[in-house]
Subunit: 161 residues, 2 copies
């Protein structure tokens, strides 16, 4: 049963390295992808974040193509929101906030067939290179993105020119 279960997991693209529910894995080379935009989430998240896209995603952002084509992947990288004592000493006031330790990385993967029941998007969250294996967490992704603008294909981020 255990072996069968592992094989099943592998065939589904799930397992320790893939997100539950969606079977999303970390795409090779995502850190080299081009920049879509940046943001700061205050409150409990307390992060600075960058959204990067693979070639399909970035082209769609730049051209305004919606819905995003299958194969588009958006990487959201986040780091602790840290005041920079080093910078502030130079600037003479407390104004500078920089990227601290990484928190987690999320991927949104467009596949209108595989993820038809969740708006065509599959999701994954990774900490220190490993998938977060909480099904409960993964099941919060789609309901929240469903409240993002329909005319942006349920994506929160806009391209920063």
């Amino acid at each position: 049963m255990c072996v069968a279960s592992l094989v099943q997991a592998s065939a589904d693209g799930t397992g320790d390295d893939a997100s539950p529910v969606f079977g999303v894995r970390i795409p090779a080379g995502y850190r080299d992808w081009q920049l879509i935009s940046v943001a700061h989430e205050a409150g409990g998240l307390n992060d600075l974040r960058a959204m990067l896209g693979n070639d399909i995603a970035v082209r769609a952002f730049r051209d305004g193509t919606r819905p995003f084509p299958d194969g588009a992947i958006i990487a959201r990288i986040a780091w602790r929101y840290e005041p920079s004592a080093e910078n502030n000493a130079v600037f003479g006031q407390d104004q500078s906030f920089v990227a601290g330790a990484p928190t987690n990385i999320q991927f949104s993967v467009k596949d209108s067939t595989r993820y038809a029941s969740t708006g065509g998007w599959g999701f994954g969250q990774f900490e220190a290179g490993r998938a977060n294996l909480s099904e409960a967490l993964m099941n919060t992704c789609s309901p929240c993105h469903a409240r993002a603008p329909r005319d942006n294909d349920f994506v929160f981020t806009r391209y920063a020119r």
Copy 2:
């Protein structure tokens, strides 16, 4: 005299499209460069910013090579720091700050010969694609960067892993 002056300017790589003092121009394709890090400057700047690097700069950041090799270019893109009413409505609290209108773009260009008198770095600031022609502004770049860490080759930004 006017023509002679223009010719001189062109030969120096200066003129309307180049920064005063340093003669830095907007590098082709910089918006496609890889991400170094992100930051928020509060106070008068009130921006969200992304630092991108050309291949030479990104490789040096990742490998820890200091001083940066000649040819390294760092692009600092900044946008207005804007609360996102759209995101906050979904999240149920005021927590989300996104990239608004672009403010300006700055480039730091490493050339240890040409810019020997300013730590090997030349600088430029561009608004809406045109060089800011203030010599006074350009003359603030080097004294400020001289106060950035020497062990980071007078660069404020650290690579965000």
